[in-house]
Amino acid sequence: MKTHYNHNIDTNISITYVVANKKITLVAALGVTIGISIFIFMNSLGSGFVKKSNKTIFNNTPHIRVYKDDEISKSIITPKDSNSLVLISNPTVIPKSEQIVNPERIITLLRAQPEVTYVTPEIAVKVFYNSGMSQVSGDASGLEIAEASKMFNIKPSMIQGRMEDIETHSNGILLGVGIASKINAKTGDNISITSSKNITKVMKVVGIFKTNSSIVDKTKSYIGINAAQQLLGENANYITNIDVNVQDFNKAADYSAKFSALTNYKAEDWKAANSDQLNGFKMRGIIIFAMSLSILLVAGFGTYNILNMTITHRINDIAILKAMGFKGWDVIKIFVLQGTLIGLMGIAVGLLIGGVMVYFASKIYMGPDQGYFPIVLDYMVFINASLFGLVVCFFASYLPARKAANVDPVSILRK
């Protein structure tokens, strides 16, 4: 048996073709570069939007909220024995308290879970903020401010007063900037608020906060837990929600099912609580991805055209290679490798340019309300861009290469 050497002659020919036609190689690679950099920029923008939107959501919503869900009465109660009557009634909400029984036990239980980072009790109160004759409706959250601030980023959003003062003043209130301007209140003023249980309380404004969501600023206020209990006329054990943050908020849906079973209360994750908003974000993500993929596909067509041209140009080479004993597979290898090499060059430069574009865009400061341009460098975007780019280039070169492999050498050589 003779020894057989593998000289990689197909690769050799490919590389020679790539180097020999520098202009064609560069034009094709440039198409890929533009496609890849736009793909990266747009998808990074998409990730930036998602990150910013999530941040806005988490200023107001915990990852998981544990509360007592409404129960609906049964419409038919069937008797246990034939002597009794069947009871039929309209299904209605059972008028039960929204209270969570023994909240300390549940809080301790939730804090013991390894994936949980913060747990804080909350009382949600529907209130009117009174200003003379006019009233502004809104939501007051009664909570333990130190723990809640870590969860909702309250402290960085303060524009007047001190957040901590809510703990020292039993009647302290932190107002959203929208409410403050409507009822013309500033830090140190006393305002009166009326709850849905028609209990009115005079509160002292200890601070004003501003989030980047105007709807929150126009309705939300924070008060102490005791004040909230008083507004609802309830005792010191009364808690309506327990807010939970977990390490990975993307897994909140899985944890919420687990916490429901653990606590026997309804645990709702942030995605379920904000599903309308998130559906909008999802659509936006799909549009961004589809557009950037189309741009990449157009770049692929550029490569396809150029490879088709190259193959027409090299039809004599293909014919003689086949005559000399190159198989169809060898011919495919030569041109697919050529297309892939062009693609790799284009992708490498495209990753660099895309990265630089994202970096500089992320440094653009858009003013105090918006902060920095919402764009993030996400390594997954780069991996996706490389993968999609490679797949597109592979097919863009495979299709013409297959045609080249089927060239009939006799028809070319016989002139």
Partner: protein, 231 residues
């Protein structure tokens, strides 16, 4: 010189269907021996080129049988035929068909690199030998496109020889050459046949070239009309 049969054609027939059905080869049977220098002659349209491309294994659309080096070639798959051509057949065409971006030496090495029977260094040495044989050792590192027509054709012949093929097939190998270069090509072929025992089958229009060869196979209207053997 041995008298082994290297190529045997049995009852080969071929039709062209475009523009209308036409029998271009009609019951062709002949054999060529090892070390023979045969030329195929005939007027244009006689089917000599068509026959050559069938013998070359590149055209597989025919009836009959073709046996090369004791192997039944008819009915083999394209990839098997490619491997067979790579190892056993060398080609010289009217046009050189060199790869323009490669040097002469690289062009000659390509079929041997594909075959892979020798190391790269050995192949390079062998390619130099072939160039020397054709008097082109000075041009080895020049790009193929920089050479004159006669030189390019000689490089193409060197390329056909690199794997020491059993058969060298030529389609008008001297068609584009002046008489000086034609003579070089003829002498090379004759030397290969008589000294190295390789078989040459060439289609030619050049009567002088044909008359000097060992055997003239004359064709007319798809049939062999004369199978003149000089020796």
């Amino acid at each position: 010189m041995t008298s082994d049969i290297i190529l045997q054609a049995n009852h080969i027939e071929k039709y062209f269907y475009d523009p209308e059905e036409f029998k271009v080869l009609n019951d062709i049977s002949f054999s060529v021996k090892k070390g023979e220098f045969a030329t195929l002659v005939g007027k244009s349209g006689s089917g000599k080129s068509t026959l050559l491309y069938i013998l070359s294994t590149m055209d597989t659309d025919y009836k009959g049988e073709l046996i090369i080096d004791g192997i039944m070639v008819t009915g083999k798959k394209q990839n098997e035929l490619a491997a067979l051509r790579n190892e056993k057949i060398g080609f010289v065409f009217q046009f050189h068909y060199l790869l323009n971006e490669f040097s002469c030496l690289q062009n000659i090495m390509i079929p041997a690199l594909r075959l892979g029977n020798y190391s790269k260094k050995e192949i390079e040495e062998r390619a130099y030998e072939k160039l020397k044989l054709l008097g082109l050792q000075d041009q080895a590192l020049k790009t193929a496109s920089k050479l004159s027509g006669g030189q390019q054709q000689r490089v193409a012949i060197a390329r056909a020889l690199i794997n020491d093929p059993l058969i060298i097939m030529g389609d008008e190998p001297t068609g584009n050459l002046d008489s000086k270069n034609s003579d070089i090509v003829f002498d090379t072929f004759q030397m290969l046949a008589h000294e190295q025992n390789q078989t040459i089958i060439a289609v030619t229009h050049d009567n002088d070239f044909a008359n000097k060869s060992d055997r003239i196979i004359e064709m007319m209207d798809g049939k062999i009309i004369n199978c003149l053997k000089k020796k």
